[in-house]
């Protein structure tokens, strides 16, 4: 039982990163129906932005809390800037183009950003990330089940991010405008909503959360690399679809579910289909099963669906 509970915690932690990144997929997809494959790279840039802030901008001896806050801001600045430029110059011109055109653009952006960081980020691999929150600080959750401090931070960030984002979309004036834009962009404009600005806002929010995730990822594993976005991106996209793409709570729920499935497959899947080598396959099997029975994902109908 302890083993099971510990693995459950591991799964939740793994899923928290997927969920945080998935929020960005869901936001953008909900509003412009674009699978932004480059969103994983925005997450990666968040990690690198935070690292850059720490290694280059911060004087040594900066208090940890202050350093963390500044690293988060640095990561966000990089992620958000990249997302805004990407939206403006790669995606916006293609609005109204055939539906699949932006998909290839997204692929191009994804390759471009990975290679940009890989080639031009100073200090070649590895890029050790400062362990500001000590990973050996274990918090006992009872019954011998533990979670270390950076992981706890990741989970908290995912839940807070989800709650904050859904509150924002549900209650704020801009959030309302987002829903309107998602359901009918033309009519939203007739209401006086600047849909271009709303779409940028969606990219900005998604990028900010991705930066949070990039930072927490760095803190958790002590390293960042230019490819980290590619794998996480696919997983996060899967999580978003699992939860019902366009649905904010669904994204995080999907992330948790995916994380738990992968972890449980590692521990409990019947041999020989067990172990990390098969874990990703199990994740997709669960995705397919869920979609066969609930074609719109776990949380059903998209909250921000178009008419």
């Amino acid at each position: 039982m302890q083993l099971f509970m510990q693995q459950l915690v591991n799964g939740v932690v793994l899923g928290a990163t997927y969920g945080l990144v998935a929020l960005g997929y869901t936001m953008v997809y909900g509003i412009v129906q674009l699978i932004n494959f480059a969103h994983g790279e925005i997450f990666m840039l968040g990690g690198f932005g935070a690292l850059f802030t720490y290694t280059v901008l911060l004087p040594s001896g900066t208090p940890v809390v202050l350093a963390l806050i500044l690293m988060l801001l640095g990561g966000m600045a990089v992620s958000v800037t990249a997302a805004v430029i990407m939206e403006r110059f790669a995606y916006r011109p293609l609005r109204g183009a055939p539906r699949l055109a932006p998909l290839i653009t997204a692929l191009g952006v994804s390759i471009f950003l990975q290679e940009l960081v890989r080639n031009f980020y100073p200090a070649k691999s590895p890029r050790p990330f400062p362990q500001l929150i000590p990973p050996d600080y274990l918090i006992n959750l009872g019954g011998g089940v533990t979670i270390n401090a950076p992981k706890l931070v990741t989970v908290i960030a995912a839940v807070v991010g989800m709650v904050a984002l859904s509150t924002f979309v549900r209650s704020s004036r801009t959030g309302r405008a987002m829903q309107a834009t998602a359901q009918d962009p033309d009519t939203a404009r007739l209401m006086g909503i600047d849909t271009d600005r709303i779409i940028v806002t969606a990219f900005v929010l998604g990028a900010s959360l991705a930066a949070v995730s990039g930072l927490s990822n760095g803190l958790q594993f002590g390293t960042v690399d230019p490819r980290m976005g590619a794998l996480t991106g696919v997983k996060a996209f899967t999580a978003a679809v699992l939860g019902g793409i366009g649905n904010i709570s669904g994204a995080v729920l999907g992330g948790f579910l995916l994380g738990i499935v992968e972890v449980m497959a590692t521990q409990y899947a019947p041999s020989p289909l067990s172990g990390g080598a098969w874990a990703n396959a199990w994740g997709f099997v669960v995705l397919i099963l869920v979609l066969v029975f609930r074609p719109n994902g776990l949380l059903g109908e998209r909250v921000a669906a178009r008419a």
């Binding site: 609005r95 055939p98 932006p102 653009t105 191009g108 074609p295």
Partner: protein
């Protein structure tokens, strides 16, 4: 033909003349740069493309065809790009801008003036492009056939040049054959490829904007038999242009496999409108099937089936996979289907990686893959692994696979065209456009979607069986998500739903990274950038289907796109 002699036009004429003249002057003071940049007189290398663009610009300016200003813009911008790029690279390769001769700077200035003129002129005064046709005379049919054959010849020429840039580099003497043309000095060699690529893009755009492409397209469509003959002849002639070098043939064979798969994917995505992000898995099924039954020592099943049987069976097995995987997922819509296909693709890759007797049943030799796949043979002792001589021209063994490739691509193309023109094809298009409406008219959408999946998988499986023998190894690394997306990129970049589009897209997606080798570590960076820019400049693909083009416009009409379509308003 109304002559426009405004100052803006005259600026353009002057620019075109200056650019053209500059092409006959030396561009480089540094001898190491390829493409005969030193001489006064007949222009070689990059200068040729600039000259062609300058002449095209001048002709467009003076002859005033429909789409005059837009055509002029294409010609001038690309002439400027090539001359500037070449000047900079000469400077770089020679070790300083001092190596750039006056000719290059005149060309830069001239094409800059041309560009300025093109953008000062008002594009909204352009007349709509129209389709020219030959007068209805006795000689019309033979003339059209000649034109069609000439187009095939031109395509061959462009392909040969694009693969190797041989013509300008071949020096005389027995020691300097084309083989040496792939020189070590890769920076300068790459520059010439770029000049070629940009030149072709520029000329192609000019032709498109003044309506020439459409006119020629109409002619070649009317002369289908001539087109097929010409294309076949051109393809067969290709290995004979390579002087025994296996390199270009090897790439051409790979492009062939890639193109065949792209055409297959085009059935699923282009015709039926189902976004498949895991298509490479079906290709992989074919490849693994062929590998397992090739008699390779690394295959756990020591059965050697004849290749013709392998193609058929491999395609069938892939089809079964297509149907089985398609069945439970086809009621999903759009992007949900995309992620499920992505999932299937990954499950395939993970499975073949694990079916090695360690973490699964022994079938695929796991991460090592099945290697050492023997060469194909024909009854009568002909081995695909042997080099041959034909008509006195040495043909390396890669040529054998290239010919096999032609047969495969032709078969896949015929299958695609047959499908596309059939009742099934029209039903697919109906589903793609509006599934509900299609269902309402009595189309069994589920069955047809399944059929699209299955047929697409069949074509991919057939291509995969050939690929296993061309590459000689089937390993899990070759069937990753990125391969699926590159295939999709080929289809979309080329133009959805068209055969020439898929072929062109496959060539670009395969050849571009290959020819960008000289960039070393920045290769993929530039490739990503090019993908973005290509979609930005031609969102409907390089060769959009006529149907698609219409839809593109109507779409704007219906939805009143958030932004006006490019080029709609000046």
């Amino acid at each position: 033909m109304s002559r426009d002699l405004s100052p803006k036009s005259l600026l353009g004429v002057a620019g075109a003349v200056a650019t053209a003249v500059a092409c006959f002057l030396p561009w480089s003071l540094y001898a190491g740069f390829p493409g005969k940049m030193l001489n006064t007189g007949f222009p070689g290398g990059a200068r040729m493309y600039v000259l062609l663009l300058a002449l095209a610009a001048g002709a467009v300016l003076l002859l005033d065809p429909p789409g005059r200003v837009r055509g002029l813009r294409a010609a001038s911008v690309w002439a400027l790009v090539i001359s500037l790029l070449t000047a900079l690279l000469i400077g770089y390769a020679g070790g300083g801008l001092g190596n750039v001769a006056a000719g290059a700077w005149i060309a830069v200035a001239g094409s800059a003036a041309l560009t300025a003129s093109a953008y000062l002129l008002d594009a909204s005064s352009d007349r709509d492009r129209r389709v020219w046709s030959l007068p209805d005379a006795d000689w019309r049919m033979p003339a059209e056939i000649v034109i069609t054959l000439a187009m095939a010849g031109l395509a061959l020429y462009v392909f040969v040049v694009g693969l190797g840039i041989p013509t300008s580099n071949v020096a005389s003497g027995p020691d300097h054959t084309f083989r040496d043309a792939i020189s070590l000095n890769d920076v300068t060699n790459g520059s010439e490829f770029l000049a070629f690529l940009f030149g072709i893009i520029g000329l192609f755009l000019v032709a498109g904007r003044i309506g020439l492409t459409a006119s020629l397209g109409a002619i070649t469509q009317r002369r289908r038999p001539a087109l097929v003959t010409g294309a076949t002849l051109a393809a067969i002639a290709f290995p004979f242009t390579q002087d025994g070098s296996p390199y270009a043939l090897r790439i051409a064979a790979s492009i062939g496999v890639f193109a065949a798969a792209a055409v297959g994917l085009n059935v699923v995505v282009g015709l039926a409108g189902l976004l498949d992000l895991g298509y490479i898995a079906f290709f992989g099924v074919g490849a693994y099937f062929a590998a397992i039954y090739s008699g390779s020592t690394t295959s756990p099943i020591h059965v050697h089936l004849p290749f013709f049987l392998v193609i058929v069976l491999g395609a069938l097995v892939a089809a079964v996979f297509g149907f089985v995987l398609g069945a439970p997922t086809l009621r999903l819509r759009g992007d949900y289907l995309a992620i499920v296909t992505l999932g299937f693709g990954e499950i395939f890759r993970i499975s073949v990686n694990n079916l090695d007797g360690q973490s699964g049943p022994s079938l695929t030799n796991g991460p090592n893959g099945i290697s050492n796949i023997p060469d194909l043979g024909l009854p009568g002792g002909f081995s695909f692994g042997d080099n041959h001589h034909l008509f006195g021209v040495p043909l390396p063994f890669q040529a054998n696979y290239f010919f096999l490739e032609i047969v495969l691509v032709a078969a896949v193309m015929v299958a695609f065209l047959r499908l596309s023109d059939s009742r099934i094809g029209r039903a697919w298009v109906a589903i793609r456009e509006d599934e509900l409406a299609a269902a309402a008219t009595g189309i069994n959408t589920t069955r047809l979607k399944l059929l699209a999946f299955g047929l697409g998988a069949t074509l991919a499986g057939a291509a995969g069986t050939v690929d296993a023998h061309v590459v000689k190894v089937a390993a899990p690394d070759s069937f990753t998500f990125i391969e699926s997306t590159l295939l999709l990129a080929a289809v979309i970049l080329g133009g959805m739903g068209t055969v020439p589009g898929a072929l062109l897209g496959a060539s670009v997606v395969y050849l571009l990274p290959e020819q960008l080798r000289f960039l070393h570590d920045l290769r993929l960076l530039v490739f990503g950038l090019v993908l973005i820019l290509m979609m930005r400049l031609r969102p409907e693909g390089l060769v959009p289907s006529k149907r698609r083009q219409r839809e593109f416009r109507e779409r704007d009409d219906k939805s009143g796109a958030l932004d006006p379509p490019p080029g709609a308003h000046a």
